[in-house]
Homo-oligomer: 317 residues x 2
């Protein structure tokens, strides 16, 4: 049996953010209709390493598959596998960047559905790889003119501003403080590894949409609990996964400013024909922790493009 | 990065049933002490194929890993992966036979702990691959003199009797009926794919120990519900997994002849110094659906032996 191994460097040329956003929107639609199934992330650990395992089935694409990754203090290693309807393991993909891409794409789907249509200014918290795809995704779905970035290390946020200005063609400016970062923000993306909240209630302007993607552990939150006294609409990628992993929800649930039944899954939103925003003043949040259906959706595009273009390495197993 | 791919044909020479039984006993001991973690099987499906995913961490062995397998109407394909404490993916193993081996080994552990010490006669239901390793495992832990086998197809049970007589060196006889099969049985192993019970209450002699491994789905049972009015002690591999998968427990739970709190996990038994059987008349059951810790335990032995013997294929990924 032979499967196609696709390296990260090969994957990058085979899928665009716009394609990823459409693929992720479609896969959420198929989840809503029952044509896809998603198993939330499971984690096990021994001293030194944690293994994270997710799986999904996406009937419209014709694949079942998994993502498994290990994390240590210094490194993370990600792989996605795809199997066809005959049960054959057809592809193994390196999936660090693919994970960033699909997380960005999910924010892109949510932003397209919920953010103000004429939003021009985005504020990014965090200057790592996840922050890059958040900005790319928002730029793909709104006519963004200006971005600000804040992270704790001045050199890193300045480097982010430089490289992302070049890449996006818009003006990306490093802010000296969180308050400066959000001063004009109509969209905020948080993609930090902070354990302390980076966004607080007084930083939220009327009409702002937030994508919070940095925390997928109950002991980490990027939004202070008081934000939820001001947020009008909360959407998440998957309610079950968020019960296990959305640290941002822990504080507001405890204080009573948020209830699970007030949180809408993204899958229910994508099936509606009208936008999810009801007025220009509403403050909205999309909280995502990541789902295997998203991984399978982007991996399927990469795999099929790689087969087409004769890219990748056949592994005989 | 390079990982060692080990084919089924290569694995067979690298581990014995006796080694597997000890490894599985040890891994249950480490589960009991909290040094191992096990995630029950999760399943997703699209038309044509189902993906089954399990994962575990085994600290005393120094591995985290997963088993993923696909099943279609005609075929099943199994793989196990091992990662070291540095998070490196060190091995990928074909795992059809390894799965049969570890399922046999778990029955071996339970049989060693619970069956009568002088048991000499075993009855096997089913003549497939899982039935083979059940017989091998029981023979490894008790001084078995005589085995009987029953399955629906006469040719298959006769073939099983022939080949397993050769392999085990004991007399294995094909029985013409379930009743004939169990007439002298002190140990019964059920390893069928039957949806209808193959063992009923009147077939159970005083003092018999049963290993029931065939069903890992709630709609399949090998033991009739009335068996549980006679079974004195019920042990299972994992209570959480059995809640999801042990079809044998559905009937007796519904009729009230079994309660979850009366079922002991194998992990709690292996840590006791004395045997689990209290008298020669007791009827005992070990129900297993399969756990990832067992897969990791046997895969670790195979991987380390393969490295030692320079067996397997390096995959560059």
């Amino acid at each position: 049996m032979s499967l196609l191994f696709i390296r990260e460097t090969e994957a990058r040329s085979l899928i665009s953010m716009a394609q990823a956003i459409d693929a992720v929107e479609n896969v959420f639609r198929s989840l809503s209709s029952g044509e896809s199934q998603n198993i939330p992330r499971q984690r096990v650990r021994i001293p030194g390493v944690m293994l994270h395992s997710l799986s999904a089935a996406v009937s419209p694409l014709g694949y079942v598959g998994w993502k498994n990754y290990t994390t240590t203090r210094t490194q993370a290693r990600f792989h996605i596998a795809l199997y066809n309807p005959d049960g054959e393991w057809v592809s193994l993909l390196e999936a660090d960047w693919l994970g960033q891409l699909r997380t960005g794409a999910a924010s892109g789907v949510a932003t397209r559905l919920i953010a103000k249509e004429d939003a021009q200014h985005v504020a990014i918290f965090g200057s790592g790889k996840q922050a890059r795809t958040q900005l790319q995704a928002v730029c793909a779905v709104r006519n963004i003119q200006h971005a600000t970035v804040f992270s704790n290390t001045p050199e890193r946020r300045e480097e982010f501003a430089r490289t992302m200005s070049d890449e996006t063609g818009i003006q990306v400016v490093a802010a000296d403080s969180p308050a400066e970062c959000v001063a004009q923000a109509e969209i905020i993306c948080t993609a930090t590894t902070s354990k302390e909240p980076v966004v607080t209630a007084e930083m939220l302007r009327a009409g702002v949409h937030i994508n919070a993607v940095g925390s997928n552990a109950l002991n980490r939150a990027e939004l202070s609990a008081d934000c939820f006294t001001r947020i009008d609409k909360v959407v998440c990628d998957d309610v079950d996964s968020c019960r296990n992993e959305a640290g941002d929800f822990v504080g507001p649930m405890a204080s009573g400013s948020l209830q699970w039944e007030k949180i809408s899954p993204l899958a229910s939103l994508v099936t509606k024909s009208e936008g999810a925003r009801t007025n220009r003043e509403e403050i909205t949040l999309f909280k995502s922790v990541g789902m295997a259906i998203e991984d399978i959706a982007v991996a399927a595009i990469v795999y099929e493009a790689a087969r087409e273009a004769n890219i990748g390495t056949e592994l005989e197993i």
